[in-house]
C-alpha cells in the first residue's frame, strides 16, 4: 500500500517537473526500489564522466550499499543507541553568585558587621535546586560574636520567561556567645526580572510554629559606564502576626535600604563600596524600643561581589 502511494507520488513529481531530465530521475528512483543490487550501482555511477552538456539527474544520493527503501525505513527511526546527542542542550549547570561579601562600618556606636548574601543553583534551564543565603555577624566586645542567617533551599521551576517559582525550606538561626536559636520554615517564592529590569525576589514563609512571614527584595542596576554600576536595593520584611519571643510585631517589620557602587573588573568579579540603612518599623520597632535597643542603624560598607561557575 505504502509503496503504491509512493510510486504514485514519484510519478507526480516527474510530471510536475518542467525540465525533461527529471523523468530520468524519477525512473532511477523507481528502479532503485525494485532491486537491492541496483542501488549500489547508482552510487558508484558517479565515477564515470557524465560528460558535458546539461546537468543530469542521477537520482537521490544514497549511502553505499543501501537502497532507497532502506534509507526511507531508517529515516523513520530514532537515532541508533550508540549515536551521541547532536546537541546536548539539557545539561546541568552549577552557578554561585556571592552578591555581598562585605564589611559594614557602623556610623554610630553599635558594633560593625560582616555581611554576606549569596545565591546559587544546580540544574538545567527549567528545573533547578537553589540555595539562597543571607547572614551577618558582629563582634560585640565582651559579649563575643553575635550573628544571624537565613538559608533557603528551594526547588525552582521556570514558569514564564522571566520568573522562577520556588518551593522549599528555610533554616534561620540567631546566635550569641551563650545562646543559639534556630527555626525551620516552609518557603514559597517567586524570583525573577520584573518589567523595568528590577530583580525581584518575593518569599513567603510558614514557620514550624505556624507563623507567617514574608520577604520582598528588589534591586536595580544603573550602568554609569560599561563597568561601573550603581545598584540601589531594598528589602522589606513582613509578619502576619506578632511573634513576641522573636521581637516581631504584625505588619511591616523591617526595612533595609542599600546603595552599592561596584566596578566590574570582570563581570564575575567586582569590588564595591556602599551604604546601608537598616530600620525596624511599626510594632516591631516599639518592641525593640521597649527592650532598649536601637531601631535604626546606618553603615558604610565595602566588599566584593563575585561569581563561581
Amino acid at each position: 500500500m505504502l509503496k503504491l502511494e509512493h510510486a504514485a507520488v514519484m510519478t507526480l513529481v516527474a510530471l510536475c517537473v518542467a525540465a525533461p531530465s527529471s523523468t530520468v530521475w524519477a525512473q532511477e528512483v523507481e528502479k532503485s526500489e525494485e532491486g537491492v543490487e541496483k542501488g549500489e550501482e547508482e552510487v558508484d555511477g558517479g565515477e564515470e564522466d557524465v560528460g558535458g552538456g546539461e546537468e543530469e539527474d542521477q537520482g537521490p544520493l544514497l549511502p553505499e550499499g543501501m537502497t532507497l527503501d532502506e534509507v526511507l525505513d531508517r529515516a523513520e527511526k530514532p537515532a541508533p543507541e550508540d549515536f551521541p546527542d547532536p546537541v546536548p542542550d539539557d545539561q546541568f549547570r552549577f552557578f554561585l553568585l556571592v552578591d555581598q561579601l562585605e564589611y559594614r562600618y557602623d556610623l554610630e556606636d553599635e558594633p560593625d558587621q560582616v555581611g554576606t548574601e549569596l545565591q546559587g543553583y544546580v540544574g538545567g534551564d527549567y528545573n533547578r535546586l537553589w540555595l539562597k543565603s543571607e547572614g551577618e555577624a558582629g563582634w560585640q566586645g565582651d559579649a563575643g560574636f553575635e550573628g544571624e542567617s537565613e538559608n533557603d533551599l528551594v526547588y525552582g521551576r521556570l514558569i514564564s520567561p522571566f520568573w522562577h517559582a520556588q518551593i522549599g525550606a528555610q533554616y534561620a538561626n540567631e546566635w550569641t556567645e551563650d545562646k543559639y536559636e534556630d527555626i525551620w520554615a516552609g518557603a514559597l517564592a517567586l524570583q525573577g526580572l520584573a518589567p523595568g529590569m528590577f530583580e525581584l525576589d518575593a518569599s513567603l514563609y510558614v514557620t514550624q510554629n505556624l507563623n507567617m512571614l514574608a520577604d520582598l527584595e528588589a534591586e536595580y542596576d544603573i550602568r554609569i559606564t560599561q563597568r561601573l554600576v550603581f545598584q540601589p536595593r531594598v528589602e522589606l520584611s513582613f509578619a502576619a502576626q506578632d511573634i513576641e519571643e522573636r521581637g516581631i510585631g504584625v505588619g511591616l517589620t523591617k526595612v533595609v535600604g542599600d546603595l552599592r557602587l561596584r566596578y566590574e573588573v570582570l563581570r564575575e568579579f567586582a569590588p564595591y563600596v556602599g551604604a546601608r540603612y537598616q530600620g525596624l518599623t511599626f510594632e516591631t520597632a516599639d518592641l525593640a524600643e521597649a527592650e532598649g535597643e536601637d531601631t535604626s542603624r546606618f553603615f558604610v560598607l565595602g566588599g566584593v561581589r563575585f561569581a563561581v561557575y
Binding site: 510536475c16 517537473v17 565515477e47 534509507v71 526511507l72 523513520e76 543507541e81 551521541p84 520567561p161
Partner: protein, 607 residues
C-alpha cells in the same frame, strides 16, 4: 633590531637565568595560524586530513586551536563536479570529532553530524568520507561536534564546475572569516548561560547618554524615555552580538587585522574573492573601500551579477565577489563585525608589504522598535510605505503548529509563489518559558540590508537583489507549509523553534519527493542564520519564481517573516539549525526526517 628579535633575545636571556625549559618550550610554538595548504579531493586516492590540537601563534599570542593538517583555517579543499570526492579524516584529538561539508549534497551518512549522520569519529579513528559531487561553487567545511568550530576546526571548500565557469576572472583568492578566542569555548558558553550580556561592553549607560543624544538628534529626555522603554520590556537594544570583540580576535584566513594578510593581483586584473563566514557567532559587513564589488555567487550558487559597495555575510554563508584592481595602489579588505566591536582586515595590492588606510569602525547600531515588529513610528516601515511596496493591509496570522505532527494535506493544492503576505501577526501562543516573544508582528525584510546598514550612502546588498543565474530544475509550487517560529529567551539563554529546544522536540517530517514551504517567523530580537542540511532552500524574495535564489543558510532578521521552499529529494535524517554555534548548542536545532509519508508516528529526536 626588530621588536620580535628583541623579544626573542630577551626571552633567551631570561631562560638563561631562571625560566624552566618546559615553560620556554610552551611559549615558542613552531607555527603561525594562517599557513594552510590547498588539497584536491577529487584526485585519485583522495586526501588525508589530520585533526590535531596544536600550539600556534594567533595574532602573535600562543593559542591552542584544533588544526586540520597543522593549520587554522584548515586546507582549502578543492573538488571537481561530476567526480567522486574522497577524504580520510584522522582524529588525533583526545575527543570525538567530525567534519560536515557545509552546503554539499551528500548521502545522509556522509553529512558528518554526530548523532544524526553517524556516531562521530572517535579519538585515534579514521573515517572515510566518499561521495559523488553533483554541484559546483564555493562552500566550506567544519566540525559538527560540540564547540570545536570555535577552536579553528573549519576551512574552505571549492567545487570546480564541470562546464565553463560563467564567472569571468583572472585571479582567485579565498577568504575565510572567523572569530577566535583564547578562552575555553565551554567557559564562554557557561558565561552566556549564566550572566546575561557578559560580553557586551557597548551597553546603554549614563555616560553614553550624551553620545546617544548626538547620534540620534533626539532630546535628552527622549533618549532617556527610550531607554526606560527598553528597560520596561526587559530588553537591551545593544544586544547585537552575544559574543563580541571583548574576547574575540577576528581573523581573515587565520590572520588578525594587524597581521594584514595580503592578496596580490596585477593592476587591471579581475579578482574573484571566495568569501566564507566561518565564524561561530559573528556577522561581518564586508567591503573594499574604493572598489565596487560584483556579487556573482551566493552560497555556492551562481547569481546574476549585482554590483554593490558592501555586503553583510551572515554566519555560514558564502559569497563570491569580483573586483577589478584599478591601479598599482593598495586597497583594504575590510570585514567589520556587525556590532562594531572589532574587525578583520586584509589588503588587495599589486605586491606584498603594501597597505591602505584602514577605515574607522562605525558607531555600533542599536535595535529599533521596528526590530520588535512595532509598526508605528518605525523607520523601516515608513520607508517601505513611502516606496509604495507596503500595503498596510490586515496582517495574516500564521499560527505555530507542532512541527512534528503535521498531518498530510489530503487535497494537494499548490501554494501561491508570488505576492505572499507581507506581514503576519503573532498568534496567542507565546511558546512557553523558553521564548520571549518580542515581535508582535513579523514582516518581509528581503529588501532590508539589516541593522546598522544602509544609512551611509553605500550600496548594500540585500537578499532581494539575488537572482539565480540558471533556474534550478525543480521549481514546482509547494503543496504543504510549516510555520516555524524562531524563539529564544535571551535572559536564560534558551534558544529553539516554537519555544522548544532540540531535546524537547520530535523530528520534523518531510515527505520524500514533496515540495514544501517553511515560513520562518523570527520572534526574537536577534539575527539567526538558519541552515538546512542535505537540501536546498529556495528563498522567496519576490522575484519571478524561477529566479528566487537558492541557499543553504538563510539569515532571518529580527521580526522577519521569511519563506523558503524545499524539494525533499534527500532521503534520510538531516540537521536543521541556527548556525550561531552557541544558539545551536542551547537547543536551536531540529532533526528533519525525509520519510516515505507523513502519516507515521512522531519520531523522537533523542535516541
Amino acid at each position: 633590531m626588530s621588536r620580535r628579535s628583541f623579544v626573542k633575545g630577551a626571552a633567551a636571556g631570561l631562560a638563561g637565568l631562571a625560566i624552566s625549559p618546559s615553560l620556554q618550550a610552551k611559549s615558542k610554538p613552531k607555527g603561525v595560524a594562517g599557513n594552510f595548504s590547498v588539497l584536491d579531493a577529487s584526485k585519485p586516492g583522495g586526501i588525508d586530513l589530520y585533526i590535531e590540537r596544536k600550539d600556534l601563534l594567533i595574532d602573535g599570542k600562543v593559542g591552542r586551536p584544533i588544526t586540520i593538517n597543522g593549520s587554522i583555517p584548515g586546507p582549502v579543499i578543492r573538488m571537481k563536479e561530476g567526480r567522486e570526492a574522497l577524504m580520510r579524516v584522522h582524529n588525533r584529538l583526545g575527543e570525538s570529532t567530525s567534519i560536515h561539508w557545509h552546503g554539499m549534497l551528500v548521502p545522509f551518512n556522509m553529512d558528518g553530524v554526530p548523532g544524526i549522520s553517524f556516531p562521530g569519529i572517535d579519538p585515534g579513528e579514521t573515517f572515510t568520507y566518499k561521495f559523488d559531487v553533483r554541484q559546483n561553487g564555493t562552500y566550506w567545511y567544519h566540525s559538527h561536534t560540540g564547540l570545536q568550530e570555535q577552536l579553528g576546526h573549519y576551512g574552505q571548500l571549492i567545487v570546480e564546475p564541470e562546464d565553463d565557469d560563467p564567472v569571468d576572472y583572472d585571479v582567485e583568492h579565498t577568504i575565510v572569516l572567523s572569530d577566535w578566542t583564547f578562552e575555553d569555548p565551554t567557559t564562554a558558553f557557561k558565561k552566556l548561560k549564566t550572566m546575561e550580556g557578559y560580553y557586551n561592553f557597548q551597553r546603554p549607560t549614563i555616560a553614553n547618554l550624551d553620545d546617544q543624544v548626538k547620534a540620534t538628534d533626539k532630546g535628552l529626555m527622549e533618549v532617556i524615555g527610550k531607554r526606560l522603554n527598553w528597560d520596561w520590556m526587559r530588553m537591551d537594544p545593544t544586544d547585537i552580538a552575544d559574543i563580541t570583540g571583548s574576547t574575540y580576535t577576528y581573523l581573515l584566513n587565520g590572520r588578525s587585522a594587524r597581521e594584514n594578510p595580503t592578496f596580490t593581483a596585477e593592476p587591471g586584473q579581475k579578482v574573484r574573492f571566495r568569501i566564507t563566514n566561518a565564524a561561530t557567532m559573528s556577522y561581518f559587513d564586508f567591503r573594499i573601500p574604493g572598489l565596487p564589488m560584483t556579487v556573482v555567487n551566493a552560497d555556492g550558487q551562481n547569481v546574476e551579477p549585482v554590483e554593490t559597495d558592501e555586503l553583510r555575510i551572515a554566519v555560514a554563508e558564502t559569497y563570491d565577489v569580483v573586483v577589478t584592481l584599478p591601479d598599482d595602489k593598495a586597497y583594504t579588505v575590510f570585514a567589520e563585525a556587525m556590532d562594531r566591536s572589532g574587525y578583520a582586515r586584509g589588503t588587495l595590492a599589486p605586491k606584498e608589504g603594501m597597505a591602505a588606510k584602514v577605515p574607522e569602525l562605525r558607531r555600533r547600531p542599536m535595535l529599533t522598535m521596528a526590530d520588535m515588529g512595532m509598526v508605528h513610528g518605525s523607520m523601516k516601515m515608513a520607508k517601505k510605505a513611502m516606496g509604495g511596496e507596503m500595503e498596510m493591509a490586515k496582517p495574516v496570522k500564521y499560527e505555530a503548529h507542532d512541527e512534528a505532527k503535521v498531518s498530510p494535506i489530503k487535497n494537494r493544492t499548490e501554494l501561491p509563489v508570488k505576492d505572499l503576505p507581507t506581514m503576519v501577526e503573532h498568534g496567542p501562543d507565546e511558546h512557553g518559558p523558553g521564548s520571549i516573544t518580542m515581535a508582535k508582528n513579523a514582516y518581509r525584510q528581503f529588501d532590508e540590508p539589516g541593522v546598522g546598514l544602509g544609512d551611509d550612502n553605500r550600496r548594500v546588498l540585500s537578499y532581494g537583489q539575488l537572482k539565480v543565474l540558471e533556474t534550478p530544475k525543480d521549481r514546482r509550487p509547494p503543496t504543504r507549509e510549516i510555520n516555524l517560529h524562531l524563539t529564544g529567551n535571551m535572559h536564560q539563554y534558551i534558544w529553539g523553534f516554537n519555544g522548544k529546544k532540540w531535546s524537547e522536540s520530535q523530528m520534523i517530517r518531510f515527505k520524500y519527493g514533496e515540495r514544501l514551504r517553511i515560513n520562518m517567523i523570527n520572534d526574537t530580537m536577534m539575527n539567526h542564520p538558519i541552515h538546512l542540511h542535505g537540501m536546498w532552500m529556495d528563498l522567496y524574495v519576490g522575484h519571478e519564481y524561477g529566479k528566487n535564489p537558492r541557499k543553504h543558510t538563510v539569515n532571518v532578521q529580527p521580526a522577519e517573516l521569511l519563506t523558503v521552499d524545499i524539494t525533499a529529494d534527500a532521503p534520510g535524517q538531516w540537521a536543521f539549525h541556527c548556525h550561531l554555534l552557541y544558539h545551536m548548542k542551547a537547543g536551536m536545532f531540529r532533526t528533519v526526517a525525509v520519510v516515505r509519508d507523513l502519516e507515521g508516528e512522531p519520531i523522537d529526536a533523542e535516541a
